[in-house]
Amino acid sequence: MTSLYYIPNWFFTTSIVFEIIFAVVTALVAFLSFKVYNLSKQNEFRLFGLGFTFISLSYIIWSLINLFLLDQLNESIKVLSFQQFVSLGALGIYFYMLLFIVGLVTLNYTTLKEKNKSIYIIILLTSLVGIVTSFNKGFTFQILSSILLAFLLIHFAYQVKRNKNIKSILVFAAFLALVVSHIIFIFSTTQYVYYVAGHIFELIAYILILVRLSIIIK
C-alpha cells in the first residue's frame, strides 16, 4: 500500500479547521481581486482572482477528503492511501490536485510580463501530465506545487526589492512559508510529523496574507 500522507488522531480535527481557514483566506483574496477587477477592468485582477478561487476550492475538497476518505491505520494514526484510488474518492483526490495546480499555474501566469495563452496551456498540460503519469502521484504533486510556489516567491522577492516596504515583505514571507510547507509535505508520505509541520507553516503563510489583506481593506 502506498500512502499519500499520515495524520495523527490528535491533529485530525485541527487539520480540517486549518484547511477551512486556508479556504476562507484564499477566497477572501479572490473576492478582493474580483472587486479590484470590477473597479479597474484590468484582466490581471480577474485572472489572479480565478487562481485564488481554484486554490480555495482545492482546500475545501482537501478538508472533505480528510473527513470522509481516511483509513484508521492504528489507534493513533489515520492514513490516506492509494487503496482509495480505486474508489469514488479517487475523483475527489484528483480533483483536489487538479484545482490546486490550475490555481498555481494561473497565479504564475498573471506574474508574467508577456501574456500568451499558449504559454499558459503548455505549463498547465506539462504539470498535469507529470502528475497523471507519475507512479507516486502525491509525491509528484507536492514537488510540482513547491516548484510553482517557488516561482511565485521569486516574483514577490522582486516586489520587495522594488517597493522596499514592510507590506511587500509580508507577502514575500507568506509565500516563503507556503514554499517551505509544500517542501515539508513532500515527506508527509513517510511520517505524520511532516504533515503537522506542513500545516503549521501553511497556517503561518495564510495569517500573514490575512494581515496584509486587513491593511488593504482598512
Binding site: 473597479l39 479597474s40 477592468k41 484590468q42 489572479f48 514577490f156 516586489q159 488593504i216
Partner: protein, 91 residues
C-alpha cells in the same frame, strides 16, 4: 528622479485631469496635464472609453471628454486598487 508611472497611475492621472475641469475637457488639455505622448494618450483614452470610464462627446469645435460614474468610482477606490496591486505585484 520620479518613479516611472504604472498603467493604473496613468489612468488615475487622466481621470483626475478630466475631473478637475468640471467633467469636460479637450484632448489638448489632457495631453498637456497628463504628461503623455500624443499616441499614448490616444491609446489610453480609447481604452478608458471602452471600459466606460470616460465619455467622448463630439461638438462643432472638436471632441470633449467627460468622466462617467465608473470613472468616479475608480478615483474613489484608487487607494484600494493601488494597495492590492502593490501587494501582489500585478502592475
Amino acid at each position: 528622479m520620479n518613479k516611472k508611472r504604472n498603467k493604473l497611475e496613468i489612468i488615475r492621472d487622466i481621470l483626475q485631469v478630466i475631473n478637475s475641469r468640471n467633467g469636460k475637457i479637450k484632448p489638448t488639455h489632457i495631453l498637456y496635464k497628463s504628461n503623455l505622448s500624443h499616441q499614448m494618450m490616444e491609446e489610453y483614452l480609447k481604452d478608458l472609453i471602452e471600459k466606460q470610464f470616460v465619455k467622448e462627446t463630439k461638438t462643432k469645435t472638436g471632441k470633449t471628454y467627460s468622466i462617467t460614474e465608473k470613472g468616479h468610482e475608480y478615483l474613489k477606490k484608487y487607494t484600494l486598487i493601488a494597495e492590492f496591486t502593490e501587494s501582489f505585484g500585478l502592475d
